[in-house]
Symmetry: C2
């Protein structure tokens, strides 16, 4: 639908009652930011929940009035006539607790103390997020999801939905995800966290009080993260060994010499202007902790026995952050439980980021799943 | 030879005359630290030069008197009865210019100004190092090398020897190396450099004057580097998702939760205690710049046409820093020039670090090459 813009408005819901968290702590008096697209049908059976990954929010699709370049982060996937077609489905995007994009997070005020949370914001897990999302659905009057959908960390939430609320999910679409982080994934997260925490402007997580932001740490965190989102191939194709300033070497250790350096520094600078350092710590920790097999002695098949949903898994051949092998572990564990599973391994050059991009085979696979499976129960 | 220790003594050679550098600058009045093992034969034909990688030195083999645990970094490869047998070969280890282990580097005094070099130490390239090494060999009275040998960045120096001084090298042994860095390699170097340069204790590279060391940056640099030295598989085997303190999660973003975090922090701490920040910048830049094909329009085959040596290339299956594909590029370019090339791709789980470890097939392959090829001209 060229020239068509779906205008959307962010909303917010307040929750007074305490939410128990995996850590044993609780959080109360919090807000969840969310958006909806399409119309809930009469029997409330066409709701699709979209869960977001590290650097995203409830603004999944559409644009804000008067801001034509404000497309949601999965606008190529969700909207009228798109793979998740909002003419048929009622789609909900929720911003997770601890985020810095609207829901209650570390830069907000603790209702008991009147102080900004900062480092005192409770550690939240994928399971906590799912429980918070379930409460929002309760308030919206949605008993059951036609589908829950997410990529990367969002895929972990989708998977967790099928385990925590098996009776409320008919389909789960888990894209570019993994059943847990491996040691290398945790290692990269830890580098990012150490860069932030050891930035003198972090002040133990209470930098708000000092009127500073640990930008140095955030820049490094984003640079290292960004490397893991891209494939070797796409980096070589886009940047290779190109110099930023033509052919002459500068012979400098601190100036930018190669295009890839310029690109990474730019990504780091942008990110440090808007992303909250405590949120970065919280979200990377939620990633580290996610491990449904843990309570079952590491046996993923036993862990997934609770799931009743039908599943669609998608992975990308050059994704080395969450490789196809990790998706296949989930597929195998579901098949061990005789669950219905579709699995697509897309041969795409873009690495982990492919889940946000316009690969036509990928979009078609998701479209077909929603048209042929989700739409029919 | 169990119970046998080769006692060694570091030496140093002063060079008064200026060395022209690739950058157009020169360096004069510098010292090179080196060690030798074995005996130079009468016709001076049994010399083997060992080039070092990022975190290593001239102390390649043997131990220092009274320090039984001071084995050189390649002590499993070089010594009496070892793959590079010092009963037959006269082996030389040299510490490169700009290092922090003995040769003149950023923490030494500029002879013209009387000030510590710091960030003013000239940028040095692989080619500069090779030229400095060649001058040392001149002073030692060694016209021709039986072999030049190195792993990783050391392999780049070995390759460069065959191009800069083709008539002085009979054999080149290039282990776990690459014809240049790709975009991802440069990207990881840039993350490390930014962590160091943006550490408030870096002071533009003149931290010595301030009595501080940019340890935060060095720690991050080492952590990210370390991840790239290990394979996914070996990280999962060694650490996996093991918690440091048993079974209970702490639910903390700043405390150590997983063993891999503890390991990486320890590596970072150790490194920041002894490695010089300016040296780290210089050596990673030398890696970035190395690209013999650059002067030939990117054509590696044309670049290697100058080489006259015979070659042995070794790569490791799980090395994702310098993958076997990168070694095969060198092999192909040499074969294009009808050079004699042996190539071994070792199926080893340890990633890039494998070149320093005790894989018996690897050690045997190098042993056989030295016994059957190098020893016979």
């Amino acid at each position: 639908m060229p020239g068509f813009f779906m205008l959307v408005t962010p909303q917010s819901m307040h929750f007074a009652e305490p939410l128990p968290l995996a850590s044993g702590r609780t959080i109360r008096g919090y807000d969840l930011a969310y958006e909806t697209y399409g119309t809930l049908n009469a029997d409330r059976s066409n709701a699709v929940l979209v869960c977001h990954a590290l650097n995203a929010s409830h603004h999944v699709a559409g644009v804000y009035a008067g801001q034509p370049k404000s497309e949601g982060w999965w606008d190529n996937m969700i909207g009228p006539g798109k793979p998740v077609d909002t003419r048929r489905f009622f789609v909900i995007g929720i911003n997770n607790l601890g985020s810095c994009f609207g829901s209650t997070g570390p830069m907000h005020t603790h209702p008991d103390t009147g102080e900004v949370y900062g480092a005192d914001f409770p550690v939240v897990t994928v399971e906590d997020w799912v429980n918070a999302q379930a409460r929002l659905l309760d308030r919206l009057g949605i008993p059951t999801l036609a589908a829950v959908l997410g990529g990367s960390l969002g895929g972990m939430q989708a998977l967790s939905w099928t385990l925590q609320h098996p009776e409320r999910v008919r389909h789960a679409v888990v894209v570019a995800s993994a059943p847990n982080l491996n040691a290398e994934n945790i290692a990269f997260n830890e580098v990012a966290r150490r860069a932030i925490v050891t930035d003198p402007d972090f002040h133990g997580g209470h930098f708000y009080r000092h009127g500073v932001v640990p930008k140095r740490g955030l820049r490094i965190a984003r640079m290292v993260g960004h490397i893991t989102y891209l494939s070797d191939d796409v980096m070589n194709a886009k940047f290779g060994r190109q110099l930023r300033d033509g052919l002459a070497l500068k012979y400098s250790t601190q100036d930018i010499e190669f295009q890839i350096e310029s690109y990474l520094r730019h990504q780091g600078d942008k990110f440090s202007d808007y992303f909250d350092a405590n949120t970065y710590l919280l979200i990377t920790r939620a990633l580290d902790y996610f491990d449904p097999a843990r309570a079952h002695g590491g046996d993923l098949s036993r862990a997934l026995a609770r799931a009743q949903a039908s599943f669609m898994l998608v992975s990308f051949s050059t994704d080395w952050r969450f490789s196809p092998r990790r998706s296949r572990e989930i597929v195998k564990a579901l098949l061990d439980n005789r669950r219905r599973v579709s699995y697509a391994e897309i041969d795409a050059p873009h690495g982990h980021d492919a889940f946000l991009l316009d690969d036509p085979r990928y979009l078609q696979v998701v479209r077909a799943y929603f048209e042929n499976q989700v739409a029919h129960g």
